[in-house]
Subunit: 424 residues, 2 copies
């Protein structure tokens, strides 16, 4: 038990995402009215694609949600400014390897420069370009290298480049993350396809690090804004890897209107519901992929909190569990040291929580009730579940009817290795 | 940069506290009117002292602050009940190896049983005994073994057993933590001596895991309560190892009145201030010792937040930095990836924070200003400071006159090892 008696342990050296494969190119349906071009700008190591340009058909609608981090990155500030300008978005540009965050006024100038250069190449206005960056914080954006690679991106624009695009935005991700759905609206088939990146600094608040979902359906600006908020709340806002909210989190929903399907009517219509469901499904798949590929993750944990007075307190309990380093290391060790989950629940900040009413299940195993270990609980049952790669923790608060689901991963040696070595 | 390219790294196997030695027995001044007895109850591994009894002179005053975790342990509930009974505390009993938390009604019965057994041995009432436990959560307290070892504790009672007592309450601590001061009140010398334990699940809110500070000064109940709150706020409430608040946190201040010195007048008197300062000094030394011996700690980090509108927002910024796994792994790696500190500041939840006004220093090195990297900053200067075992991070918010200091440590492979292996 004493630290000095620890047995020697080496870190595993090939982190593997939990039950996750990168989708094949043919699984990702092109979105009519949207093309993607990828290039190597030399921001990351040589030979890595690190620059992505998306070009949207005229008349496309774009909505987004962004990080609440007060040190938010220059591209986030500029994205909001350009979206607010109402000039219509015609292009998005994403670089990896450098976050352009913590870069002050110079960072804003750099992001504007990139938008301007791309706008000139495409024959649109600079305000019609949205910039995104991800990577190291507090280092100057290599503007010249990015600008020099933009023509290659534009030359490479194609509708079926989603898989390459997913790879081009990766940082510590080990796998490209993309998902696709098709639904029928009226007599037309519409497509929803998205990509995301993120593996650490993951506790999005309004969005993931970077997520882009596009549809060729035609949607009004206000309906699209409602759809993106709903999708973010059901997906990227429900995950945590390490509780750190990034400076660059951005989640963008694009509707090109190029499918030929009729305009989706406002919130409340059947078409809106169907499309919103498809967008949310793609977003949930992408958000879960981020957790499955969480830095050093060896377990995918679903935290299902039920019987709360409201959804917010259920989410607080879920995040209290999902953020606890002690709970996360116990999952890593497959050790049913489940009292740590009770301690985390007790730390959720719910002042009038009656712990004697709470039940805790690990998958189908009742672990705790009446403020303590359940009479029926056997260590071997807890041990069996803890060894699985996917585990559901279910907490019943017995205070009301609300519930919430949070997805997280464990905390392993590889998390420390990856983040200790990130810049070197 | 990609996870797959990580070089092989083994965990270091002998965690060493940062600039900390266990005090020698002769450095710990006995407190008149207080004796301590230690025994082996067989709760921890064989050969480990794991049971401590303290006996106080009649008329001693005792005050305490306790965890805010809603799943607080049975002994915490009973401590509060016994303190509220007003019957006067005559003894404290502390076991390690088992937290008696998450144990429901049975846990309360068990804690009462221990108090009753000890009270019988000492010829006092059960309500005059305060129980404390630390160790694994959600396992039944081994009452019989503890009860069987109580007579050995009582037989061993001595005034100069502080060093042994500090050892007897350790769990994952690698070193005993104790501190002592003497001051002159009027014409009498009075002593303040204390012990504490804790290394993980450390983010006390009102108290540390376990801390006991005693003085032979004579202090009224109300003055003692003010003193213990002040000392906790200046010490144990300013540290974090992993952001997890324990179910068992208790910090107890004892005044036996056996020094012969005159009664310390109320809050505001010179005697109160002098004694309060000594108690706070001992508490700060103990709290810092907990961080220096934090699970897997290789660095001792002082987070000094200045220029806030109020102390609370300064502490929020400090804890946002101190809780960030990404900041903590960067410290472990001695990697001046200091943008992570900016990101953590941005996550402190201060809505109207103007990041362009913030300055960030690492010891004497100006790292960031005007929302980005300082013009004068050189990576080699950051690197030099990051290699030190003790580092001060100073954040100037430029919003007001308030300040706060938080102490924390880094996040290393050993933290994961220790907590993955804790029960095995």
């Amino acid at each position: 038990m004493a630290a000095a008696s620890l047995a020697p342990t080496c870190t595993s050296l090939s982190p593997m995402p939990v039950n996750l494969r990168a989708p094949a190119t043919e699984q990702l349906r092109p979105v009519a009215g949207l093309t993607l071009g990828i290039a190597q700008a030399g921001i990351k190591k040589p030979g890595k694609k690190d620059l992505l340009v998306m070009v949207l058909a005229e008349g496309s609608q774009v909505a987004g949600v962004f990080t609440r981090n007060r040190f938010c990155a220059a591209p986030v500030l500029l994205c909001k400014e350009h979206l607010d300008s109402g000039g219509g978005v015609r292009s998005l540009v994403v670089n990896t390897g450098n976050a352009n965050a913590g870069t002050g006024e110079a960072g804003l100038r750099d992001a504007r420069k990139i938008c301007g250069e791309l706008a000139t190449l495409l024959g649109v206005k600079a305000e019609q370009v949205l910039p995104f960056s991800t990577g190291v914080i507090m280092e100057a954006l290599p503007v010249e290298r990015i600008a020099a690679a933009l023509p290659a991106c534009v030359a490479a624009l194609r509708e079926d480049h989603w898989r390459d695009a997913a790879e081009a935005i990766m940082t510590t991700d080990t796998l490209a993350k993309a998902a696709s759905r098709q639904i029928v609206l009226g007599s037309n088939t519409v497509t929803v396809t998205g990509i995301a990146k993120g593996a650490g600094m993951i506790h999005p608040n309004m969005a993931t690090m970077l997520g882009f979902v596009a549809t060729d359906a035609a949607v009004s600006a206000s309906a699209l804004q409602a759809m993106v908020r709903h999708a973010a709340n059901e997906s990227f806002n429900r995950i945590t890897v390490d509780g750190d909210t990034s400076t660059n989190d951005s989640f963008i929903l694009i509707a090109t209107g190029s499918s030929g399907a009729a305009h989706v009517a406002g919130v409340g219509s059947a078409e809106f519901a169907a499309l919103s469901d498809a967008v949310t499904e793609v977003s949930v798949e992408l958000a879960q992929a981020i957790v499955r590929d969480g830095e050093g993750a060896t377990k995918f944990i679903t935290l299902r909190i039920e019987g709360g007075s409201n959804e917010a307190e259920c989410a607080r309990v879920g995040f209290a569990i999902g953020h606890s380093p002690l709970v996360k290391t116990a999952f890593f060790a497959s050790d049913p040291n489940l009292g740590r989950i009770l301690a985390a629940i007790g730390n959720a900040g719910i002042e009038d929580l009656d712990v004697s009413k709470i039940t805790l299940h690990l998958d189908d195993v009742l672990v705790a009730e009446a403020g303590g270990r359940a009479r029926s609980y056997l260590e071997q049952d807890g041990q069996r579940v803890m060894k699985q790669a996917e585990i559901t923790v279910r907490v019943e608060l017995h205070r009301g009817q609300a519930s919430s689901t949070i997805w997280t991963c464990d905390l392993s040696h590889d998390y420390v290795s990856i983040n200790a070595d990130y810049r070197s």
